[in-house]
């Protein structure tokens, strides 16, 4: 039985690989996708938490977070925005997210934050 499900939305395959390996190692189930695939996964799979990158082609993190909040089926899912400090600062007022994770981040902090939002749910 998985400890919970995490949806990773990031366009960099290196980051997706890293998060997947790190979170699966802790017993989480990890999903990943971009654009509409990400929105669809969120609605259908109902992950416990969403890790969301900001700077992405096509649909960026700002747009995805708003779409997730606008949909009653996904509005409740905690979102953790991941980006470099300057971008997090610049978009902080634009994104309806629960927490921000600054890149590069420590895996330990990732574990702590994910565990906190999953237990809060």
């Amino acid at each position: 039985m998985a400890r919970g499900t995490v949806l990773v939305v990031d366009d960099d395959p290196g980051i997706v690989e890293l998060l997947q390996m790190a979170l699966e190692d802790q017993g989480y189930e990890v999903l990943s996708g971009l654009n509409y695939v990400a929105l669809q996964l969120a609605q259908e799979q109902q992950p416990d938490v969403i890790l969301l990158d900001i700077l992405m082609p096509e649909m960026d993190g700002v747009e995805i977070s708003h779409r997730l909040r606008a949909n009653p089926a996904t509005a409740h899912i905690p979102i953790i925005a991941m980006s470099a400090q300057d971008r997090l600062n610049a978009t902080s007022s634009l994104m309806p997210v629960n927490e921000r994770l600054t890149k590069p981040f420590e895996i330990k902090s990732l574990y702590t934050i994910v565990a906190r939002w999953i237990s809060a749910a």
Partner: protein, 548 residues
């Protein structure tokens, strides 16, 4: 009005006739009063008065008594001079006014001629042409004070003593004198001209200092036409012109400084904006692989520690004994670290290359190089790296030798290829080709991506340029926007050309061309080959310092 003064004139003439006829004191008084009444009218009346007095003179010549006649003429002359002098004065005043108005007109014309000049360099010819016209002078010269104390002629009539671009020692001394005196220096100079018509004639020369406040800006030198000396009025007017010239000089210098400052400010602002954008993108591009490297490093470290302490278990077996799967996980994250490390290295190399290009220090190590082999090797390398992508090679069988830095050319081709992979769909094939076209070897990379709008095609070679709205294939890095800039610089340094052929939705073909060595004739083959190398070396463009 004319009736009024004509009436007064008639009475005046009658009074004079009475006086001459009777020659008594009362008649004289009467004529005198009437004469005074007319004073202050215009020139036409003066002529009438003169005519009446000529008549009077004729009348007096007919008077019988010589004594009476002499006395009458003497008195009439006194009266005439007294009554006429105010007319003469009025006339002179009128002439002064006309002169002043003409001066003013000339001054306004002069000011207008200089009003729109925004650069000191443009001012010279205008000053020289218009000051000569305004003064009715033969020629002018405008000399500017240099920081080292010398005088440089900004503009001056050719073929004269003023034509020298820098003032002679004699002129220098003359200028110093004018400046010391704080007044126009007027000299009469005798011409020793080759021109027979001018030889031996004299002309006036005025040297006027041009000051803005206490600051000495330059001098204006004016020469009269041969044989025509400047009057005091001319010199006074020249002083006024000099004051306006100084103002125009000051204005032009200020405008120049303002334009320069504005251009500097705009350039600085644009550079700052580009730098901010660049830092933001560079930060993101460097941090992404760095996040992977650091994250994977943390995972590897944690797992190795756990393995060492016997706490790490195989996720599958769960019995705490089989460490093999965990070790393979460590190996996986380590290989990912290595890959991300390479990405980081590539980004840093691009940044360094850009800095070198900017400083004009991109070193080339050209040598004879077989382009066929180079293109094949790079193509095959990418075929291996991007397994699953179709990369076709279109290369002639015979070697194509150019004189080039093979590592740098490889870098250019790699840039083209990685862009093609980045910006075209995974299933779309890519072709790498080489063709000899006349005296050029042309290498190209064709992709079936979205293509480039014509408006973007020239800009893609600029530093930090990014095609608006162009989506890179998911999972690839956005890049620093330096690859094509570096490629362009490398090929330009080889004396070659780069280009792109594309249409929206029609894919893109990025190419570069390098000159082939000149063909050596069979008779001079050995010599020719050496010449070839030298010729090609000459084609390697010298570094341009400080390009931006």
């Amino acid at each position: 009005m004319s009736v009024g003064w004509q009436g007064r004139l008639t009475r005046y003439a009658d009074a004079l006739r009475d006086y001459v006829a009777r020659a008594d004191e009362a008649g004289l008084e009467q004529a005198y009063k009437l004469g005074r009444q007319m004073v202050g009218d215009d020139r036409a009346m003066l002529e009438l008065v003169e005519r009446h007095h000529r008549e009077l003179a004729d009348l007096l010549r007919a008077t019988p008594t010589p004594g009476d006649r002499d006395r009458t003429i003497a008195l009439a002359q006194t009266f005439l001079s007294e009554s006429l002098s105010p007319f003469a004065m009025a006339q002179r005043g009128f002439r002064d006014t006309v002169t002043r108005l003409r001066d003013l007109q000339r001054l306004l014309d002069y000011q207008q001629a200089l009003a729109d000049v925004r650069q000191v360099a443009d001012l010279g010819e205008r000053v020289v042409a218009h000051a000569a016209r305004a003064l009715g002078a033969a020629q002018c010269a405008l000399l500017l004070a240099q920081p080292d104390g010398r005088w440089v002629c900004l503009a001056g009539a050719q073929g004269t003593v003023l034509a020298a671009r820098a003032a002679s020692a004699a002129e220098q001394e003359m200028i110093e004198q004018a400046i010391q005196a704080r007044a126009p220096l007027v000299q009469n100079i005798r011409l020793s001209s080759d021109n027979a018509a001018e030889a031996g004639t004299t002309r006036s020369q005025v040297v006027l200092a041009l000051r803005s406040g206490e600051k000495l800006l330059g001098v204006l030198i004016v020469q009269s036409l041969p044989g025509e000396m400047f009057s005091a009025d001319d010199i006074a007017f020249a002083q006024v012109l000099a004051a306006h010239t100084a103002q125009a000089l000051g204005r032009a210098a200020l405008a120049e400084a303002q334009t320069e400052a504005r251009a500097k400010e705009l350039a600085l602002r644009a550079a700052n904006r580009r730098m901010e954008e660049f830092l933001s993108i560079a930060g993101h591009e460097l941090r992404t692989p760095l996040t992977s490297v650091l994250g994977n490093l943390e995972l590897a470290t944690t797992w190795v520690d756990e393995l060492r302490q016997g706490r790490r278990q195989s996720p599958e077996s769960g019995d705490g004994t089989a460490a093999a799967p965990a070790l393979s996980q460590v190996a996986t994250v380590l290989s990912r670290m290595e890959r991300q490390g390479r990405v980081l290295n590539r980004l840093v190399t691009d940044l360094l290359d850009t800095a070198r290009i900017q400083a004009g220090r991109l070193a080339l190590h050209p040598a004879p190089c077989n382009l066929c082999a180079l293109v094949r090797e790079v193509g095959q390398e990418y075929q291996q790296q991007a397994a699953g992508r179709i990369i076709g090679l279109d290369i002639p069988a015979n070697p194509v030798t150019v004189y080039a830095d093979s590592e740098r050319i490889t870098q250019v081709l790699s840039n083209y290829l990685s862009n093609a992979l980045k910006f075209s769909p995974a299933e779309a094939p890519i072709t790498v080709g080489l063709r000899v076209e006349g005296r050029l070897a042309r290498v190209w990379v064709h992709d079936a991506g979205p293509g480039l709008p014509a408006a973007e095609q020239d800009h893609v070679w600029e530093r930090f340029y990014r095609v608006e709205g162009l989506e890179h294939r998911t999972g690839s890095s956005v890049g620093l926007g330096l690859g094509l800039y570096i490629s362009h610089s490398i090929i330009a340094r080889h004396g070659g050309q780069v280009g792109v052929e594309s249409g929206e939705g029609a894919g893109a073909t990025f190419w570069f061309s390098l000159s082939l060595p000149p063909v050596a004739s069979s008779a001079h083959r050995r010599k020719g080959r050496r010449a070839t190398i030298r010729g090609q070396q000459a084609a390697i463009a010298p570094e341009r310092k400080g390009q931006s």
